[in-house]
């Protein structure tokens, strides 16, 4: 499982970074989304992988922490999902506004000089 997930993180990150360096604004926004998947999964994986052990506690009594997934990376990623949604929305609107102002969708607002 670990090998597959780390390979997946690598592929998502590589695709995201490649798109991030492209000249069209839509490419950059898709790249940001892919990169945020990779980073969220990475942070999440730092709590180690656990199957069938969601951090839902019994009501009272003794708790053995080893029997549950680490809740801290999950809480961090939950915040990260919200913030990456917000940045995506903001970037999308900036993209639309820039497109309206400059007439093209290049990230610099003008086509590369030949």
């Amino acid at each position: 499982m670990e090998a597959v997930l780390s390979a997946a993180i690598g592929i998502l990150a590589a695709s995201g970074i490649w798109l991030l360096l492209r000249p069209r604004s839509f490419q950059v926004i898709v790249g940001l989304c892919l990169l945020s998947y990779a980073v969220n999964l990475f942070i999440f994986a730092m709590g180690r992988l656990a199957i069938g052990a969601p951090p839902i506690m019994p009501r009272g009594g003794f708790v053995n922490p080893a029997a549950y997934a680490d809740p801290v990376p999950q809480a961090l990623v939950l915040t990260a999902i919200v913030i990456s949604f917000a940045t995506t929305a903001l970037f999308l609107v900036v993209l639309i506004a820039a497109r309206g102002l400059t007439g093209n969708d290049h990230v610099d607002g003008e086509e590369r000089a030949p």
Partner: protein, 972 residues
């Protein structure tokens, strides 16, 4: 106790005056002057009251506890030296106020002037009375800043702006050096308290850092007191209104440097380094300053260079550092302030009444203004050091010190001759000032006919000149005791009383004085005409000016060098910047982890499930496909992006993170809809761009591909190594797991962390979401769509729209029916949140999806006629609920966002969790609904706006539209 309060009031008074003056109307000339003046008089009264304890040798202290936990206090202290100086500042301040009242024109914004002047006085007094050396530097820099504002008061003139900026840069940079010196001094002394620092002279002088401290300290003092080679800002600052010059450049600002030199001479002084650096610089400045003053044609320029030379004299005395020298230095500070302030005021009167300050045009003014002329002559004689005037006494004391033996070095031996030479120049320039301006033939072609000024404009000068005479004739009775008190507070309490008398018999200083007088008169008689005919500045040297060097350095360092650096290193393109960010992030990780990152000896892990591998095969294919297609096939790329997101979501569900899975799924839906709405505004890209196939483009892509692959591989390697390490026992996560139910009252630990343990983070996060929502809304309000997107709208004809509506009939009915179901679903997610996966955030997203579906199913107008959502109110109410829920804990004496958990028995329903964290979660819910709906509706409304625009255009007759368009074109 009373004294402590008085000293605090004294420090506050000028600032109070500044605040009051700044609130007055711009035409309230009299009121601003009266308020400032009366408050300064109050200050003098306080000083008179304080004189008793000070004269008894006490040091009066006042402290405001500011940040006691850090040991930071605003402490003020006053001893004899400070008392004398503060009295001088207040006294001359009042005279300057009276003078300014008549000097400034009716059109000047006067309250601003008085506010700056009073704030400056406050800063100066604060600097003098500071009991903490760091606070002293703060007030010191404040005087630099306020002098910038005062010198640049007539900011319409280029000279004023340049002069102000130059003064600020030079004195401000010196202040930074002083700050460094004070920090090191504080470290050596072990305290920033002035008394402690003053008492630790031995330790400071023995410290290996002594030379560094001394250098930095002297840089600060020399820049402030206009010592060579930093003197050039002072003539530049003469562009200030004359009251400012009379105050700043005689009694206050420039005296701050020598004040500090004298204050710290027991700590840093008494070494050979100190003597050579301070006395050497002082003598150089004294000699060159008086020499240069002789060649200035501008009245205020002459006075400025004269000020520089007198400051040099005081500096030299501070460098000598003997008892007599310190006494003479303090005496000369007072004397110079008195006669120089009156001379500046006299020069201002002459400028005011004749319209010029050029000595080559002025002549014979004695006929027109005999009173002012007499006053100026007496003051100038004091400046030259004529007997029976105050300037003579302190100069005499200086000559005595110069003639004395101190340490037998070459500098010490040559002091007497240097001092006499400077005295010759001083007499010559004073004589030139008097002879050219007040005597000789009547002036020709002056801008105004000269006459005596308003009586009250002359009163301050009269008072100052009277002081010159009284002190000059009766020194022992007037200033003697105060001066001894001041010297005693600098050098130590056991100092013997020194009598200040006019007549000491015929001795070397007296001979030097007469040599200087005779030499100066001779010099002027021989060279007077030639100087008047020469250029502004000394012969040969007038081309080489420190100011030019400064200007060139400023140009190079603040303009040319940054520009060329920016040209070489900077870029305005986004791609290189992003590439740099990626590479920097990669290198940071690489450098940190290289050699450290290795597999755990016995890696842990879960057995591979083939379904998981297959799932990620599809996910990876989706990611790469999205990367491949994002340029030409945006819609396909969007679908593939959704695929990668779905696989991520499934992974969360698989690996025991149900909360993440739910949230990711919901956010995925909203993101996809947002991007779909945005796609409509992208330009068409049907044909391939030809340039993309050329070699440079291919090389660029190859380079980026390498960067991406290397970074991705690195991240994968780090992830694998970390995942296979055994978990750390007793981590913070374990604490949360153990205490979530007992402390937070919920069984879903992730939710308890978010709304209870770390609720403040969540509060910040939802605030960010609200800010983004409002920003999106604001950006889209002003957005004008690209013309071709509008044309595209035109082409869609009526039949096409109808066909589409028919095709969507069944889905739209289903979507409408989904509305109540989704609301129930949102409620369900919300209420189970504390114990099971769900919570305010996912419930909020669900509800906004419900609204969104209605917008998708129907025409925007149809839906808005039936359903009113006020997203901004949702957001505001949400933030308010969350904030109030947090503040509720104040009522019970707990810190912000402390939660309380309890189960409540409801009839029929049974036990339900009722934690206050749920109220907070309700706020999160409302805010999320508001923010998401706001963004989506703002995007959806773009289409509506264009439709409205078109309706308006078609409603009008075509020619009218054409005319309007033509008008628009013409207007551009």
């Amino acid at each position: 106790m009373i004294e402590e309060n008085l000293i605090l009031i004294l420090a506050l008074l000028p600032f109070l005056a500044a605040v009051i003056a700044s609130t007055l109307s711009t035409t309230a000339h009299g009121a601003a002057a009266w308020v400032s003046g009366l408050l300064l008089v109050c200050g003098l009264v306080i000083l008179a009251v304080l004189h008793g304890p000070i004269a008894a040798g006490e040091v009066v202290r006042g402290t405001i506890r500011w940040i006691p936990s850090l040991g930071l206090n605003l402490s003020f202290r006053m001893d004899g030296f400070v008392w004398l100086f503060v009295t001088l500042v207040f006294g001359i301040g009042i005279l300057v106020l009276i003078y300014a009242r008549y000097y400034l024109s009716k059109t000047d914004p006067v309250p601003r002037f008085y506010a700056f002047l009073m704030a400056f006085t406050g800063a100066m007094v604060g600097m003098l009375m500071s009991g903490n050396i760091v606070m002293l530097v703060v007030f010191w820099e404040l005087t630099s800043l306020l002098s910038f504002l005062l010198v640049g008061y007539w900011h319409q003139g280029q000279a004023a702006r340049d002069g102000a900026r130059m003064a600020l840069i030079v004195t401000g940079a010196g202040g930074l050096c002083l700050l460094l010196a004070m920090l090191i001094l504080g470290q050596i002394a072990g305290s920033y308290d002035l008394d402690r620092v003053l008492a630790s002279g031995e330790a400071v002088r023995a410290d290996p850092l002594y030379a560094l401290v001394l250098g930095l300290f002297l840089l600060g003092c020399f820049t402030k007191s206009a010592q060579m080679p930093f003197h050039f800002w002072l003539p530049g600052a003469m562009a200030a209104p004359t009251p400012v010059s009379a105050f700043l450049h005689s009694a206050t600002m420039v005296k701050a440097g020598v004040f500090l030199l004298i204050r710290f001479s027991p700590v840093l002084g008494q070494t050979e380094l100190w003597f050579f650096a301070v006395t050497g610089t002082g003598m150089l400045t004294l000699l060159l300053g008086s020499f240069f003053a002789l060649f200035r044609h501008d009245l205020k320029g002459l006075l400025a260079y004269s000020t520089i030379s007198h400051l040099g004299l005081i500096t030299a005395l501070a460098g000598i550092g003997s008892t007599g020298a310190i006494l003479a230095a303090i005496f000369h500070i007072v004397n110079h302030a008195v006669f120089k302030a009156s001379l500046f005021m006299a020069a201002g009167i002459i400028d005011h009444e004749t319209g010029t300050r050029d000595m080559r045009r002025l002549s014979g003014l004695m006929r027109y203004m005999p009173f002012t002329g007499t006053l100026a002559i007496v003051a100038a004689a004091a400046m030259a050091g004529v007997p029976l005037l105050n300037g003579f006494l302190s100069k005499e004391m200086f000559f005595a010190e110069a003639a004395d033996w101190h340490n037998g070095t070459w500098l010490d031996n040559s002091l007497a001759s240097l001092a006499t030479a400077a005295g010759v120049f001083a007499v010559a320039y004073s004589l030139r000032f008097i002879a050219t301006v007040f005597f000789g033939p009547p002036p020709e072609d002056l801008p105004r006919t000269p006459h005596e000024p308003a009586a009250w404009m002359r009163r301050p000068v009269e008072a100052l000149v009277l002081a010159c005479l009284v002190v000059g004739i009766l020194p022992g009775l007037t200033l003697g005791p105060t001066l001894n008190l001041a010297a005693r507070s600098v050098l130590g309490a056991d100092l013997p009383y020194r009598d200040i008398a006019i007549w000491h018999g015929i001795n070397q200083p007296l001979v030097m004085s007469f040599v200087a007088l005779a030499g100066g008169i001779m010099l002027y008689l021989v060279f007077g005409n030639r100087i008047a005919a020469g250029p502004e500045g000394p012969p040969l040297l007038h081309r080489l000016r420190a100011q030019r060097l400064y200007e060139r350095a400023l140009l190079v360092f603040t303009w040319k060098l940054p520009r060329s650096l920016h040209r070489i290193l900077g870029t305005e393109h986004l791609q290189p910047q992003l590439r740099l960010v990626v590479l920097l992030a990669f290198s940071a990780g690489f450098v940190t982890l290289w050699g450290v990152l290795r597999l755990a000896p016995n890696p842990v892990g879960n057995a591979l499930n083939p379904a998981f591998a297959l799932m990620w095969l599809a996910g990876a294919a989706c990611a790469m496909g999205a990367a491949w297609l994002a340029k030409y096939h945006r819609f396909a790329a969007l679908v593939l992006l959704g695929g990668a997101g779905a696989v991520t979501c499934l992974t969360f569900a698989w690996l025991s993170a149900p909360d993440l899975a739910v949230t990711q799924l919901l956010v995925e839906i909203v993101t996809t809809v947002l991007l779909l709405l945005g796609l409509r505004w992208m330009p068409k890209r049907l044909e391939e761009i030809a340039e993309d196939k050329l070699l440079p483009a291919r090389l660029r892509r190859l380079r980026d591909l390498v960067i991406a692959l290397v970074s991705g591989t690195g991240l994968a390697a780090v992830a694998y190594v970390m995942m296979t390490r055994p978990p750390v026992p007793n981590s913070v996560g374990d604490w949360f797991l153990r205490n979530a139910y007992t402390e937070g009252g919920g069984t879903n630990v992730v939710n308890v962390i978010l709304v209870d343990f770390r609720a403040f983070d969540t509060f910040g996060e939802i605030t960010v979401l609200a800010i983004v929502g409002i920003t999106v809304y604001a950006l889209l309000r002003r957005f004008r769509p690209a013309p071709e997107s509008v044309d595209h709208q035109n082409q869609r004809d009526e039949t096409e729209t109808e066909e589409l509506a028919e095709a969507l009939l069944v889905p739209s009915v289903i979507m409408r029916w989904m509305f109540p179901a989704l609301i129930v679903m949102a409620g369900y997610l919300f209420f189970r949140g504390h114990d099971l996966p769900g919570g305010g955030f996912s419930a909020g997203v669900t509800l906004s999806i419900a609204f969104l579906l209605q917008y998708l199913a129907h025409d925007v107008r149809w839906i808005e006629a039936r359903l009113t959502v006020l997203p901004i109110r949702w957001m505001g109410v949400g933030l308010l609920i969350a904030g109030l829920a947090g503040m509720g804990s104040f009522l019970f004496g707990y810190p912000f966002l402390t939660a309380h958990a309890q189960y409540v028995d409801l009839p029929l329903v049974g036990k339900v969790p009722a934690a206050t964290a749920m109220i907070f979660d309700l706020g999160v819910f409302a805010l999320v609904v508001g923010a998401i709906v706001l963004m989506l509706v703002a995007l959806a409304h773009q289409a509506l706006r264009i439709a409205r625009l078109q309706e308006r255009e078609t409603a009008r007759p075509p020619e009218k539209v054409a005319a309007k368009l033509a008008g628009k074109m013409g207007a551009r």
